[in-house]
Every structure is written in structure tokens, then in C-alpha cells.
């Protein structure tokens, strides 16, 4: 029996999902659904846009207007949706490869525009759909099927990248810390501007196995032990933070005007609103 939340927010007839046993994506998808529900949004006015990859299959399971696009392009499609109808709540679900490799250019420019889109990157540190190739978030030195001798690329810190590019809300959550994740995504949706959340997932099938990280439980335990809330961390001395990953809200800037608001002013100025 699916839970009430799942019945309400997911397309139950599309389940079970295609993700591997132990994958963290299902938890993150549920967190997104819970956050949307907590915001009290009309499902007919919510649009989920995704790209290509494991993460992007989430759109099809979610009971809203869903747009499963081409690899890397979710944010560019989402920009068109939001511009066309600013009354819609537009949420992007994308992956580490989709968003920061093939779609990296769209990411930094969506951040720069400060368009009111909430983007959640399901980061499993690997290309899962194609079977375990290293991605821009595979840690330096770790392995993938295309990095059999260890990855010599340095990995992105996605929230930092987004903040530097102009995103006015950034944060990080994990598959393990579900209640915190739901709250963070809720805040990101409510933020009027571009927000980016890195959702740390786990991929025991490819990333985990290749790098001897143990099973899903072990990987989530690692999240539990390694991640620390940014607010708590701000009160700790630096030596206590070594090797830790900050989660929660990481940056917020309420000073910048939102993109579609500015465009509506141009329309008004031109008399196009009559």
C-alpha cells in the first residue's frame, strides 16, 4: 500500500521505479514531493523539468506537469516554461553529469539570470545510466569505468559553483538526512529567485562498488558521519570541520531582482501588457 503522500504526489501506476536497489534517488524524489506538498501548491501549477540520466527519470513518476527533456538541457527548457508563464512553479530535477557536465553552461547562466526556478541536483558522483563512468563530481583519485587508474579530474563543489555564478539560494542535503532535506527544498521553492540544491544521493551499484564503499546502508552511514549542518558548523572551530561536508542552507541573497519580474516591467514599459 503506498502512503498517502505517495498516492497524492506520485503516479502510482508508473511504479515501481527503475532505480537500482539501494539507490538514494527514490528518497530524494520523495523529499521533493513532500516539500511541494508542504508548500501547499496546486499540482496543476507545478512543472517538473528533467534532463537525461538516472535522476531525470524522477519527472515521469511525479504527478505534476512533467517535462523530460534532452541531456543537459533541463534548465534551458525550464527557462522557457517559466518565462512563458511565471505563475507556474518550476522545479528542475537533474543529475551531476546532466547539470554540471553537458548542462554546465545552462546551469551557470540560469544562476546568473536569477530566474525563479528551483533546481535539485541528484548527485550520485557517477554516470549511472550508462554504467559507471566518472562525472564532474566523482572525487579526485576515485574510480569509474572510464577512470580505471583513478580519476585525475578535480571535482566540482556544486553549491559553491552556483553561488559564484549568481544563484541567490544554495544548499545541500543528503539521502540520509530526509527531514532536513524536505525543509531545505521547501525553503528553496519558496525563495523567489534561482535556487540550487545539491542532493547527495548514493549509488551502491556503480560508484559504491567501483570504489569499495560498501552497500547502501554503509554509504548512508558515511553521509550521517561526514555531513554536518552549516549552522552547527559555523559555531565549531576549523579543526573539528576537517573532512566534513556542510549541509543545509549554504547561501542566500535577497537583494537581487528576479528575472521574470524584471521582464514584466519591460513589457509594461513598452505598453505590451494592454
Amino acid at each position: 500500500m503506498p502512503s498517502k503522500l505517495i498516492e497524492k504526489t506520485l503516479r502510482v501506476n508508473r511504479l515501481p521505479h527503475i532505480w537500482c536497489p539501494g539507490c538514494g534517488h527514490g528518497i530524494l524524489m520523495r523529499d521533493v514531493a513532500q516539500a511541494i506538498d508542504n508548500c501547499g501548491l496546486d499540482p496543476d501549477k507545478v512543472v517538473i523539468v528533467s534532463g537525461i540520466g538516472c535522476s531525470s527519470r524522477a519527472a515521469g513518476y511525479m504527478n505534476y506537469n512533467t517535462l523530460h527533456t534532452t541531456h543537459g538541457r533541463a534548465l534551458a527548457f525550464a527557462t522557457g516554461v517559466k518565462m512563458a508563464n511565471p505563475d507556474l512553479t518550476v522545479i528542475c530535477i537533474t543529475g551531476d553529469g546532466d547539470c554540471t557536465a553537458i548542462g554546465g553552461n545552462h546551469l551557470i547562466h540560469a544562476c546568473r539570470r536569477n530566474i525563479d526556478i528551483t533546481s535539485i541536483v541528484f548527485n550520485n558522483n557517477i554516470y549511472g545510466m550508462t554504467g559507471g563512468q566518472y562525472s564532474p563530481t566523482t572525487p579526485h583519485g576515485e574510480k569509474g569505468t572510464t577512470a580505471p587508474y583513478g580519476n585525475i579530474d578535480y571535482n566540482f563543489d556544486i553549491p559553491k559553483l552556483a553561488e559564484a555564478a549568481g544563484a541567490t539560494f544554495t544548499g545541500r542535503c543528503t539521502a540520509y538526512h530526509a527531514p532536513q532535506a524536505i525543509k531545505l527544498i521547501e525553503d528553496a521553492i519558496k525563495h523567489h529567485g534561482f535556487s540550487l540544491i545539491e542532493g547527495m544521493s548514493v549509488c551502491p551499484t556503480y560508484y559504491g562498488r567501483k570504489n569499495k564503499k560498501g552497500d547502501s546502508v554503509a554509504m548512508m552511514n558515511w553521509q550521517k558521519d561526514t555531513c554536518i549542518d552549516a549552522k552547527v558548523a559555523s559555531k565549531l572551530p576549523p579543526e573539528k570541520l576537517e573532512g566534513k561536508i556542510l549541509i543545509g542552507e549554504l547561501s542566500r541573497d535577497e537583494s537581487k531582482e528576479e528575472y521574470t519580474d524584471m521582464y514584466m516591467k519591460i513589457i509594461e514599459k513598452c505598453g505590451g501588457n494592454k
Binding site: 508508473r14 527533456t69 522557457g80 518565462m83 521582464y263 514599459k269
Partner: protein
Amino acid sequence: MSEKRFKLLQGNEAVVEGAIAAGMRFYAGYPITPSTEIAERSALRLPQVGGKFVQMEDEIGGIAAALGASVAGLKSMTATSGPGFSLKQENIGYAAIAEIPIVIVDVQREGPSTGLPTSPSQGDLMQSKWGTHGDHPVIVISPSSVQECYSETVRAFNMAERFRVPVIFLMDEIIGHLREGCEMIPPEELTISNRRIDRKFNGTMAYAVQEGNYVPEFAPFGKGDHFNVTGLFHDLDGFPTNDNQKTDSQERRLLDKITKRRDRIQKWEEVECEDCETMIVCFGGTARAVQGAMDEAKKQDFFKIGMFRPITVWPFPEEALNKIIRQNKHLRQIIVAEHNDGQMVLEVQRIVEGRVPVIHLGKIDGTTITPEEVLKKIEEEY
């Protein structure tokens, strides 16, 4: 904004005016010569009519945003030239399989890669049909005057909306940068097609079609049952399927909606084709040199020349060409004049099947074919 009805306009500008008359309310693109004036005028004009313009970070973003806006209910366009047209190809396929109306303008320029950015060419003719991977439907329209930049853009939008397909508006630098008079026919005097909207998909059968029809009805995001759009092969409900029979029936319908309705899409111009000895087949800006050659020929005691000009280049007006070949007993040769190394000529040869000689007149040096060159070719081959 009250605009004068008759105005001297550049081809690129007329495209924007036609698009707005047809109902375009969204444009996304990236600057590229020789199409940039389309972006510039869209940026100026769209907010005046309550529409929206966004300059995206790259060519792919341009078509992606335009498709997003179309799904959200606005008639959308993007414009580009060769290099950008190549970059947009993947999402043209997405528009085809997800059945999202969009108009993509390609103002062709010479050569592969960066080529000669400011020189005329018609080298993207085959790409406009086959550019994106996989079997897919597409409609391609090519104007040969500033007036057609206006009125055929209206038709391009109508076709995109009626058939839920990407329509490619295949221009060349000759017409894109040409200024001539244009009658800006107001929307109330035009036939404007809008996508057929069904707010309740009878469940969520977003891709179901009624008996005898090929095009599913459509509801923009936020205005009807929420449904799923994907570039994967999908079932009638819009959700991915690997079922081979369902894949086949979806692919067949996508192709059939164009091929079985091609008589509603094809458009061409015939000038003195009924009794000519040489018929010149051409499209876009090349037609102007061919008509110039016909003007010259009339001043001299020259062979009788006719011109057959597809305006819808894909699907090619095959039946019309066949009819001329059947009926014109004086026809001795067909010359296909185009600014490339031989693309439309292949289609014409396929249709003519050797009944009369089909000869190619091409040019790929960045200059335009002249009327003298057309006449010389006719004489040489006669």
C-alpha cells in the same frame, strides 16, 4: 503599436513581423550572422505585444527555451545559421517526437563549419530534412522575397501548430539581408491556426488521436490535466514504453501526419512551365536570378524557359512536378539551380526517373548565381 501596412523591410525583419502577426509570443536564440537581425527585432518587438524574448547562453539553449515556452502555451521561434543549426539538431528531434510546435529559422551561409559567415548558400537543404537523427517528420519552407518572409512565416507557424511539428524556415543570405517592400497584412485578415486544445485528456491519454486524425490535441502546462512529455518513445499516455508494436505505431503516426497530409502542406510556384523547353527548378534566393534570366531571355530570341519553385521544399511538391513532366510535351531538359554542390537535384532526379535530362547548376564560392550564368548553362546543355 500601429504599424504602416506597406513598409520597406529587410527579409530578416519581415520574418519577425510575420511571426508576430501569426501569434509568436516567445523567442529565444543566440546571435549568429546572417540571422542576427531576427533576434534583434524580436527583442524590440515582442515586449510591445506582451511577448517575451530571451537571449540564451548558446544555440542549444535557444531552441530548448523556445520548446519550453511552447509547452507552456506560447507560439515560439528561434533563429540561427549553419553552425547554430547543427547545434540545434538534437532538440529538433525532441520537438518531433514530443510533438511540440516550434518554428526554427535557418538563414543559410556558405560552407561547413564557420565557412563564409556573410555569404549566401543553400547548403543546408538536406540537413533541414535529415539533420536530426532517426526517422522524423519535418516541414521546411523557403521564401524567395521579403513578402514571402512575412506571409510564409505566418504559414510556418500555422503548420507547426496544426501538425505539432518543428517547421524549419529555410532562408538564405540573399533574402535575409534583402530590403524590399512588404505588405504587413494584419492578423485579422490572415488565416491563423492555433493548436487544438483539449483541457481534459480523458484520463491522461495526452497522445491519443481521434479516429481518422493524426494529430493529438494539446493542453499547455498549467491549463489542463497535467501530463508527461518525453523524448523517449511513449505510449498514448505520454509515458515511456519499450513495446515494439507501440513504438512502430507511434513512429508511423508521426511520419504519416506529414506524408498523408502533404497536399495540405505542399506549396510551389510555376512560371510558364506548361510549354517551356527548359524548366529550371530552384528555391529561395536563387529564384531571383532565375527570374532575372527569364526576363533577359524574353529580350532576346531565346529558348522558352519555365521556372518551378518549391516554396514548401519538404515535403517536396512531387506530384506537381510529375504533372508538368507528363503534360508538357515541349520539355527538353530540367536544370536545377541551387547554391550548393547538388542537393535538390537529387530529389528532382529521383522524381523524374530519367524521363528528361536533369542537370545541375550549382555555385559554392560564396557569390550568387547570376542570370547570365543561368542562360549560359541552358545554351551549353541544349
